[in-house]
């Protein structure tokens, strides 16, 4: 396994919320955030940070970027054989792309990037090459107020890449990108990772990350529920090896009763049916072909965040969505993640 470049050891940051009292109007209390989270980031890896709204993805990225102070725990980085401890010392090595930056004003694209480049001692040559890299070279002199949402997102990507970071933190980078730009962005991230850049991408859509990330961290209510390669996490949650098929024709019970096949869901309406199952896909396919059933769709079940959360927390969907709204932390760490099955 590649070496660890960024290590988070029981880090904690809980947002301080106003809780005014009669004699202490400035009083605050701890609200949601990140609670005692440990995570290693490996060189050249692409880590997907997934979780529902309010899970703490943005807070965790801000902690890694050295924007938020650590209340507990430690973050250490290892770059060029040097171990850096105070989180502020990591900033030159870390590129951060916030979830939404409303680039506005009468500055041009190049001027706006140059301003940030100056804060990193990055030469103008690098700025121009990044403008080209994100596909904004035709718009390099365009005023920020005139940029579309997608162009602003591209500009944010360029800003994160200033200074050639060793760790790239991307908060919901697919927001506002058209499919072509999203594909180009995915290729760019893969290229950077192949050059040794460690990437963390947060998203509440696991599907977006499929095929891009090589590790996933599942976050809920500020706590890490599971982390590892996508397939491993799915297996640990009992969600691996699932297939979905749909078609028309008579689907008898005998056809589905095979010792190696576990039917998870079966919907039928007239002649149309849809089947979700776990087991050797080829076995069921042969059975269906022999029974002369018409199969229209067939494939593995895509990872789904809701299913993952339900499996990891043992909660129902409604409970999870309600808990996201709750301002206080629920000690999810007491909920056991499924054992390898």
């Amino acid at each position: 396994m590649a070496r660890v470049v960024l290590a988070l050891d029981k880090v904690q940051h809980r947002h301080q919320l106003p809780a005014p009292r009669w004699f202490k109007p400035w009083a605050k209390r701890s609200g949601p955030g990140i609670v005692k989270l440990s995570l290693d980031l490996h060189e050249g890896s692409i880590l997907g940070l997934v979780g529902p709204n309010g899970a703490g993805k943005t807070t965790l990225l801000r902690l890694m970027a050295g924007i938020l102070p650590l209340q507990q725990g430690a973050v250490s980085g290892r770059f060029r054989g040097e171990t850096l401890h105070p989180v502020e010392d990591l900033r030159p090595w870390v590129g951060h792309m916030p979830e939404q930056v409303r680039w506005q004003g009468h500055q041009s694209v190049v001027q706006a990037l140059t301003e940030l480049a100056d804060m990193r001692n990055v030469p103008i040559k690098r700025v121009l090459s990044l403008v080209k890299l994100v596909g904004l070279s035709d718009r390099s002199e365009e005023v920020l107020n005139n940029l579309s949402q997608g162009m602003r997102q591209r500009l944010s990507i360029a800003a994160a890449l200033l200074g050639s970071p060793k760790v790239l933190l991307l908060d919901e980078p697919f927001n506002g990108l058209d499919p072509v730009a999203a594909r180009a962005f995915t290729d760019l991230v893969k290229t950077l990772a192949s050059k040794g850049v460690s990437v963390v991408i947060s998203s509440h859509m696991v599907g977006h990350l499929n095929g891009l990330i090589d590790r996933v961290a599942l976050l809920h209510q500020g706590q890490l529920l599971d982390e590892g390669p996508l397939g491993e996490v799915e297996r640990r949650l009992g969600l691996a090896g699932r297939y979905r098929a749909a078609g028309t024709g008579s689907l008898s019970e005998d056809l589905l009763q095979h010792p190696d096949i576990e039917v998870l869901e079966h919907h039928a309406e007239g002649q149309a049916w849809e089947l979700t199952f776990r087991g050797p896909a080829s076995t069921l396919m042969v059975n269906l072909m022999e029974a002369a059933v018409h199969v229209e769709r067939w494939g593995p079940v895509e990872p789904d965040l809701v299913e993952w959360l339900c499996a990891a927390t043992g909660m129902e969907v409604d409970d999870i969505s309600l808990n996201v709204q709750a301002p206080s932390m629920v000690p999810l760490a007491t909920v056991e993640v499924g054992e390898d099955e």
Binding site: R62, P69, R91, H96, P98, E99, V101, G105, Q107, M119
Partner: protein
């Protein structure tokens, strides 16, 4: 690029952006009216001030005209800098800036210097114009020392209001709060301070508003050290030999130093702890 050069570059960018802003263009007529306009008025050879007094030196005329700085220029400083941080916070730019390796204290310094230059430069031009207008209308000219004190004192009061506005901007989560706080502080020191002084005088048993009562003059002089506008007038009074409110010059300059260092230090501290 050295740290200092990087900070000045950022300050220059902020200055240029604000100097070309629509906001400043709107404020220029106000500044024209309040700074050279007042100097023109007080430089009238036939002017008769309350009590039958006529100003007899150029510095005295500029001292009276400094009301324009207190009312107009300080308000412009607040209106220019009130969203120095809160606007970036709302747009997400603050998060990007805070993620950069440039120390946050330097970012704070760049903000202060950038906004200060944006208001001081036009005011300086108008102040030089005022000195010229007074000289042209009355034939009285300020000495080099008087001009220097006038310019330094005015730059300092603008710095203080820029610092207050930026402090408010770091605390405010949205623009309305930032502008309310900045204008509130301006209102307190520009209008309400007289009420505060009166109340303290009344509580201390000093006859209120008796211009020739030494007790009132001394109390007002001391309380003025607690207000940026008061310190500004104290600084200008150091060049008026006929005015003596019992406050030694070193105390006035010490108060000026306090009004400069403390809010600046507080702003740097706030920037260090700032969260997007």
């Amino acid at each position: 690029m050295s740290d200092g050069a990087r900070m000045w570059r950022m300050a220059r960018r902020i200055r240029n952006e604000r100097l070309l802003s629509v906001r400043l263009k709107i404020m220029v007529p106000i500044l024209l009216l309040f700074i050279p306009g007042m100097a023109w008025g007080f430089a009238d050879p036939n002017i008769l001030l309350p009590g039958g007094h006529r100003p007899d030196t150029a510095m005295e005329i500029l001292f009276y005209a400094s009301l324009g700085v207190v009312f107009g220029a300080t308000m412009c400083a607040v209106l220019l800098a009130f969203d120095g941080v809160s606007k970036d916070r709302a747009s997400g730019m603050l998060e990007l800036r805070l993620a950069q390796p440039m120390p946050r204290t330097q970012q704070a310094d760049a903000l202060v210097l950038g906004f200060l230059q944006a208001i001081v430069l036009p005011v300086l031009v108008l102040m030089v114009l005022s000195i010229g207008l007074v000289g042209w209308r009355t034939g009285l000219w300020t000495t080099a020392l008087e001009s220097a004190v006038y310019i330094i004192a005015t730059s300092l009061i603008l710095l203080w209001y820029v610092l207050f506005a930026l402090l408010a901007s770091t605390a405010a989560r949205e623009q309305g709060t930032a502008v309310a706080f900045g204008v509130g502080v301006w209102f307190l020191f520009t209008f309400l301070w007289a009420l505060f002084t009166t109340m303290v005088a009344y509580a201390s048993g000093v006859a209120v508003g008796e211009a020739n009562d030494p007790a009132w003059i001394a109390l007002e002089g001391r309380l003025d050290l607690l207000s940026p506008n008061g310190v500004y007038h104290h600084l200008l009074e150091t060049q008026l030999p006929t005015v003596d409110r019992g406050i030694p010059s070193w105390q006035v300059w010490l108060a000026a130093l306090g009004w400069t260092v403390l809010p600046w230090w507080w702003l740097r501290r706030r920037m260090n702890d700032l969260v997007p």
